[in-house]
Amino acid sequence: MIFNYLKIAVRNLLKYKFISFNNLFGLTVGLACCLLILTYIIHELSYEKYHDKADRIYRVTRLFKNGETGVTSLHLNTVSPPFGPLLVNDFKEIEKLTRTLQNNTVPFRYEDKIFNELNSYWADSNFFHFFKVDVVKGNPSRALTDPYSVMLEESIARKYFGTADPVDKVIRMNNQFDFKVTGTYKAFPTNTHFHPELMLSFSTLRDTAIYGEERLRTNWGNNSFFTYAMLTPGYDAKKLEAQFPAFIDRHMPKGSHFKPSKTTELFLQRLTDIHLRSHLDSEAEQNGDIKRVYIFSAIALFILLIACINYMNLSTARSALRAREIGVRKVVGAERKSIILQFLTESVFVCWLAIILAFVTTWLVIPLLNQISGASLSIDVLLRWQVMVPLIIIPFIVGILSGLYPAIFMSSFQPIMVLKGLFRAGGGNISFRKVLVTAQFAISIILIVSTAVVFKQMRFMQNKELGFDREHIVTLPYTSALNDQYDAFRTALLQESALKDVGRSSRIPTGRLLDAMGSQMKNGDTLAPANVDIKYVAADHDFTSTYGIKMVAGRPFSRDFSLDTSAFLINESAASILGFKRPEDAVGKDFGYGNRRGKLIGVFHDFHFESLHQKIVPLVLLVPRSANNFGNISVKIAGSNLTGALAHIEKTWHKFLPEVPYQYTFMDDNFTRLYEAEQREKNIFTIFAFIAIFIACLGLLGLSAFTISQRVKEIGIRKVLGADVSTIVTLLSKDFMKLVIISAIIAFPVAWWAMNSWLQDFAYRISIPWWIFLLAGIVAALIALATISFQAVRAALANPVKSLRTE
């Protein structure tokens, strides 16, 4: 029986090639989209799961808050070094603990090969027993025990040593410190939150030349140590967290006003939550976002739904053509049940074909998608039984879901009616299909609105006046090797006329503002702590002019004033939070920041130092006592001679710093990188919106073909009575336009709600303009009209005599 069904299914597919192609194509595209999105989702959800005890590993995070108001000022995923050993000591529930510290970008050298290494980490000796790392050479238990040991990722080892055995070779860091290579390991997989390429033994940090044992034990202020705790099996992290306030008060030095636990808190963050749910202030790498997983799941479901609806519409549209077959089958003894079964077999079969094609499509498209989206997806994640089994079941579900309605509808045909050619699809069936088409168009309109909003927000961010000049600025890493010769270096740079200005700072715009100390304001005769949260950037005299930051009151730092090394510049937000009504009022006032006292000499315009995801925060600029505080050099170039300017910078760099590899970035590129995730989102939205609309159009094509075929006689009579083509096209299109309007009415509030939530992630965002909705409605209507007209014009042009005679 089933064989008979399949046979006729195949022959039908071949006979009605256009409809079959539409049907199969729509489903294939829909399923391929779902598979692609599934690949992405599985990848996103797989982060860290490969570690053996991933469910017991937590990262310790530290929150800083205002002791008085309790308002959070900073939440870091790193803590200060004393916490680690104290935690293991105090809590037997912590089975083991490991720490890593991200190293600055420093040059490493082996013989004549020098490279700047961006991803080197200091790591505790138990690291390889804590996390699952594929060690290729060396003893994982001992490799990081001795000071001045380093483990290298295979590609890094090859970079320095070629094919030679790297073990026991020595590489030199920062032209100062020699590290012995103790082994190599395979690159960390993509689905983890950090990717160390060099791992330096943590014990090295005890050397005062590097960091110092004393500071490891007592420096509560350096919160840059990633600290991971593995709890004993079954122990609840919440119970441990509850004991942290007492722990903090037990160990941390008392503050002047508050217990330490009033101003800081510790939390345990699940290792497996880091990628999707952690958005703390200093992530090791850019994380994903669970929201994005939800958005894409919704899109996948939407597209699948559209494809299913499409299948239903096209199948029922074709039913008129198959009415006779159904009649015959019933007459020769088929029960309704077996007719339903036949059509379900057919739709499951078509879904099977579609999923096979979708698999092939996915496999072909993934590399392309990786290119567009910057992702690193692989179809391999689908080739596991946990995924394959559901995938094998999907055709049944989708097939039954989309085949059930056509099956029930068609099996209800009265055999004698259809065999005598008296068959007419009933009105009820058409209204159900109208509901389906309305749903399809509602989904399409939602996607059009979403795409438009994403586009508009992206444009807004790219064009927003940031308050500083980001164009033609090149940034270079600052190195302490420049400390003594910086002035000469700067002068040499400025000899080239294309270079306009050179400034140094601890952080550069597009980065985060995470450094803060306490502020003091004059109260009577003394400076008293001010209860405000102000971030700082260490900057030299030329920083503001390099970035074209405008002063609102007072003056910028100047070499003409020797006291400027203890002076402060603040932004408007800082002036206002410090209680100055007008920026001018701040100028000349005494101010304290950290342990430095001086005068506020100027107030600069609020500018967007951080990305537009962040609100502009109060900021103070100060000239640091030691040039070691600088991390970056920014060079302003005149737009005219970029190549020459870059060549000059490189030449000068090599002249002053022959031992330090030269590298630079454009501020513009940093800026683009800030919104990479949104840029990807935009690309993917656009693609999927387009696909959804396309599939919806296939469905509309089916429905309009069907409806028009039902009205052939009416059209014939109207034409005989004198109706012209445009009247008939209008007549036929009018009904569908009504559907588009209804779908718009349904779609608008949903789209508004969805996109409004999406925009909440941006501190600076557009308000969704009304015309976007109008535009989406018009676009949908035009697409629908074009689709329908194709059929309507053909019907209107047909010779009426022909259609009337067939009656």
């Binding site: 046979k7 022959r11 015959v328 089958r329 020769v332 003894g333 309704r336 049940k337 077996s338 004698i416």
Partner: protein, 225 residues
């Protein structure tokens, strides 16, 4: 075999009621060949549908082989139909996507006959209808006469007790028409009961008895001798 008493069937649309069968009473004995005639709209086809268990009456009694079937549900009707009744239509109603063999095989599939048996029986009947050489062709590749022979083959493959023919020669020229009528006559002589709706006096003469209908009732019977 068929005993119909006071059968009524009314078709209703929103505003109009059409009485298709009006207290119709009729009996067909086993082995009979009955022709039903009458103008368009007199209820012939409705009668055929009800007798063929494709439709149910509004009221009245319909005994088939001594069983009251008027109130049977669809499943029971389908079951009775596939074992006892074969249909021949004016427009042949073969399934275009199936070959001659597969078309004839279809009723056997629905009655659950095993594949090997099916092959034997289909070949037998195709042989008898002299279209064995066309077994792998599709309906569109056959002439009208051949198509109707396939349709008859399909109607008889399950060895039904009753064949219902709805203007079986309506789409055929006279020589093909005569051939089909001869086939039906042969089947009747072998014991199959036949009820045929027709407009053709010529075809009706093949039958034992002509029932003439008007406005949903029988108005005259001619016994052919």
């Amino acid at each position: 075999m068929i005993k119909i008493t006071n059968l009524e069937k009314v078709y209703r649309t929103d505003e109009v009621e059409t009485v298709a069968l009006n207290k119709l009473t009729l009996e067909v004995k086993e082995g009979e060949f009955v022709a039903v005639m009458g103008p368009s709209g007199c209820g012939k086809s409705t009668l055929l549908n009800i007798v063929g268990l494709l439709d149910d009456p509004d009221s009245g009694s319909f005994m088939f082989n001594g069983i009251e079937v008027a109130k049977f549900n669809e499943r029971k009707r389908a079951d009775l139909r596939k074992r006892n009744i074969g249909f021949v239509f004016q427009s042949f109603n073969l399934i275009d996507e199936l070959t001659v063999f597969e078309n004839v095989e279809l009723p056997l599939i629905y009655t659950g006959v095993k594949a090997a048996d099916r092959k034997k029986r289909v070949e037998e009947v195709l042989d008898k209808m002299q279209i064995m050489h066309r077994r792998n062709h599709y309906p569109q590749q056959l002439s009208g006469g051949q198509q109707q022979r396939v349709a008859v083959a399909r109607a008889v493959v399950n060895k039904p007790k009753l064949i219902l023919a709805d203007e079986p020669t309506g789409n055929l020229d006279s020589s093909n028409g005569n051939e089909v009528m001869q086939l039906l006559t042969d089947l009747n002589e072998q014991g199959t009961t036949i009820v045929m709706v027709t407009h053709s006096e010529h075809d009706a003469r093949y039958s034992h008895r002509i029932i003439r209908m008007l406005d949903g009732q029988t108005v005259m019977e001619n016994i052919m001798v």
